[in-house]
């Protein structure tokens, strides 16, 4: 058997089982496939009963679907996690410094470190935010950073999600389900807990309340409603924090303040953790046809009467064309070298990069600049000739809409599939909270591509999730 051309996190072909997986590997070897199959079904029943479902857009039959859950945990050592978390803190500090700068003096552009056109002319740049300073100068309070691993030492950031990253409820429910299904595994390992995440989130939201808030700030979670694909998560987080889950119609603006409609009449709101996009926040400022938002919200926000989390306009920081400059931001604002690597990126808006991309299509991943969720992308090595041809046409027609990156050999983790236990490719999305200080629950959401050889981990494209264990020392 030839050595696989990817890093297998459980075992090295030469050195054998890697230390973090030693106990798990022993345990797995003793399990009968039938037992595991039963446990897998038990876990699925738990998810279905809890109603942990998501909706797939464009799929009318699957209004509520389960994300496949894999029962074999992914394990990282304390040392590995330490490095990742330091890298994450560095990155989110730089992203917030960039957001403040780009809506104020734009020093980084003046210094010639980032070209003006990709910032200011970018459709993700929100002119409404110019000159506005949110509480604590924080824009992106909750950031989900997608990280992939290629070998024992190298972690790459694939993208930063600075708008309304989702998935944290799966991180928490995956752990709950694992603890219910495999108590004996937790007895053998020292797994760092993650269930403090809702309190960390609550503390973060409280810490960014407007200065004038009376008493303990009133926090709400703003959802587009039950039909949104992440509705489960919205209600889960509101419930865990003990705050109201509101829709746009439950809120209104009066005399400069934001209020919610309660059974006892209006109640003042101080912090809105919104899970709706910028465009829908306030029909008076953004999309006039939006029924999801709150008319006048942006005026109240500008006047400092309410904090919106994440701030409007943060999309500029996770734009795929901006992504390639994040290492430069870390150097410029923090004077440090980046701890986590960036994937080399070809910006197809540039003629040279476009030419390179067209020449090397079969080696590259091509993504839409504003795309997300695995939609509108092409993975060169696995694409058919026809798909490639279609992308050549798209690239020529609108080159600035695309970037390209080399295909990384994503690491793989043991996964329970039809044929038994086999390696499947994974990524990792830790959730970083930024308020009066940076808070981080150990681990994150591991997404796994369930098809053999597939590199696409998105749930909308057939990916699943796993529990992620950070071992304590």
């Amino acid at each position: 058997m030839s050595a696989p051309d990817f890093f297998y996190e459980m075992a090295d072909p030469v050195a054998g089982v890697r230390p973090p997986y030693a106990l798990l590997n022993d345990w797995l070897e003793k399990q009968k496939p039938k037992t595991l199959r039963t446990k897998q079904r038990e876990a699925e029943t738990i998810f279905r009963r809890l109603g942990i479902t998501f909706a797939v857009y464009g799929d009318v039959d699957a209004n509520e679907r389960l994300i496949p859950f894999d029962i074999i945990p992914r394990i990282l050592s304390a040392g590995e996690w330490r490095r990742i978390s330091r890298g994450l803190e560095q990155r989110v500090r730089a992203l917030n410094a960039f957001l403040y700068d780009i809506y104020h003096r734009q020093e980084i552009v003046r210094a010639g470190r980032i070209p003006a056109d990709i910032c200011i002319d970018n459709s993700a740049y929100a002119p409404e935010m110019i000159g506005l300073t949110p509480a604590g100068r924080i824009y992106a309070h909750i950031v989900g950073v997608d990280i992939v691993r290629v070998d024992a030492d190298d972690f790459y950031v694939l993208e930063d999600n600075t708008r309304t990253p989702s998935g944290v409820s799966y991180m928490l429910e995956n752990r709950e389900t694992m603890m219910r299904t495999f108590p004996e595994l937790f007895a053998r390992h020292r797994v760092a807990p993650v269930d403090q995440y809702p309190s960390l989130l609550h503390a973060t939201l409280e810490s960014v309340a407007p200065e004038g808030a009376q008493g303990r700030p009133t926090i709400v979670v703003l959802t587009p409603g039950v039909h949104n694909s992440a509705y489960f998560e919205h209600s889960f987080l509101a419930d865990e924090m003990g705050v109201e889950l509101v829709e746009g119609l439950d809120l209104f603006v009066k005399d400069g303040g934001v209020y919610m409609r309660t059974t006892q009449g209006p109640e003042r709101v101080d912090v809105i953790y919104r899970r709706i996009d910028d465009a829908f926040l306030d029909p008076l400022v953004f999309r006039p046809d939006s029924l999801l938002g709150v008319p006048g919200l942006m005026d109240a926000y500008r006047a400092g009467a309410v904090t919106i989390v994440n701030a409007p306009g943060t999309g500029i920081a996770d734009d795929k064309a901006i992504y390639m400059y994040v290492p430069e931001m870390i150097r410029f604002y923090l004077g440090q070298e980046p701890i986590l690597k960036n994937v080399p990126t070809y910006n197809c808006a540039a003629a040279d990069d476009l030419a390179y991309t067209l020449d090397h299509l079969s080696e590259l991943v091509v993504k839409e600049v504003h795309g997300s969720g695995g939609y509108g992308m092409m993975v060169g090595p696995s694409a058919t000739a026809e798909q490639r041809k279609a992308f050549v046409a798209k690239l020529r027609a609108d080159p600035s809409n695309y970037i390209a990156q080399p295909t990384l050999a994503l690491s793989a983790c043991p996964t329970f599939v039809e044929s038994g236990i086999a390696p499947r490719h994974v990524d990792l999305r830790p959730f970083v909270l930024i308020g009066d200080r940076i808070r981080l629950a150990p681990g994150g959401l591991t997404r796994v591509a369930l098809e053999e050889g597939s590199l696409i981990v998105n749930s909308s494209q057939g990916g699943g999730t796993k529990d992620t264990w950070i071992l304590e020392e």
Partner: protein, 315 residues
Amino acid sequence: MLGRTADDLYWLSRYVERAENMARLVEAGYRIAMMPRNSEEHREEWRSTLASAGCAICFERKYDDYSTENVVNFMLLDTDNPSSVNSCLSTARNKARAVRTTMTKEMWESLNATWIELSGVKPKSVTPNLLPGFLEWVKQRSQLFRGALIGTILRNDTFFFSQLGAFIERADNTARILDVKYYVLLPEREIVGGGIDAYQWATILRSVSAHRSYRWVYHEGYKPWRIAEFLILAKEMPRSLCFCYGMIDAALKGLAETYGAKPPCHATARATRALFDHNDMDNVFQGGLHEFLTNFLARNNQLSEEISSDFHFHD
């Protein structure tokens, strides 16, 4: 609490209660349908069952034939009938989904699991052999939810709005059952009443699960005016109008304590409750049983509307 949340809690509780009542009505109706009688009599029984359920008109729009199969399917599974068990439990579950944050995990899981199981139920699951099991299941699921509510929820506005929904629905249901059959419950019927009437009385008691408890309270055979008394005035009977209004009163008191205010619906509830306090059946019969029930149903409905506006369900 958001006004919208209170609205959803109130209605989801009503729908769970309604699902259970529908199951009971079908159960009672089905027993009568097994009696050896002519088809016209069967037709009349099912018609009155549908009238008790408040869905006779809706049924007639869809069917010409009061066959047992049609009625059972319509009352249990038909999604065109907003009060079918299927519709009630789906609506309850969807409302619960919208207000999950105010529910305990046990409450949510009981409703969600019910809904998941219900989606596997097809008309062939309620054929005569399987019907009793299905009806039992519906009642148990509703009781499981109620148990989860009583056992796990904080005694704050969440609980009080749920209670209001449940008992306003229950009172409505009991009053309807009585009203559809009021003519067999009048005092003079005792003389003319034969075997069939006795069966009718038992059916009324069965539709509120009270054919045994009646005997524990009255220690004698069914007397029509006693049945009416039992379902209207008995304080110890958990589905009587009097009992329901005791619970409604307690829930409104709870809200007044939580919120420190007594909006106008309190006065309406008090006035309706006065219909039962210090009243007796002679008095009720004198004014006319049907008139009494019609008046009650209108007041109960009015209370529901006032609760909705006093607690800002829609503004």
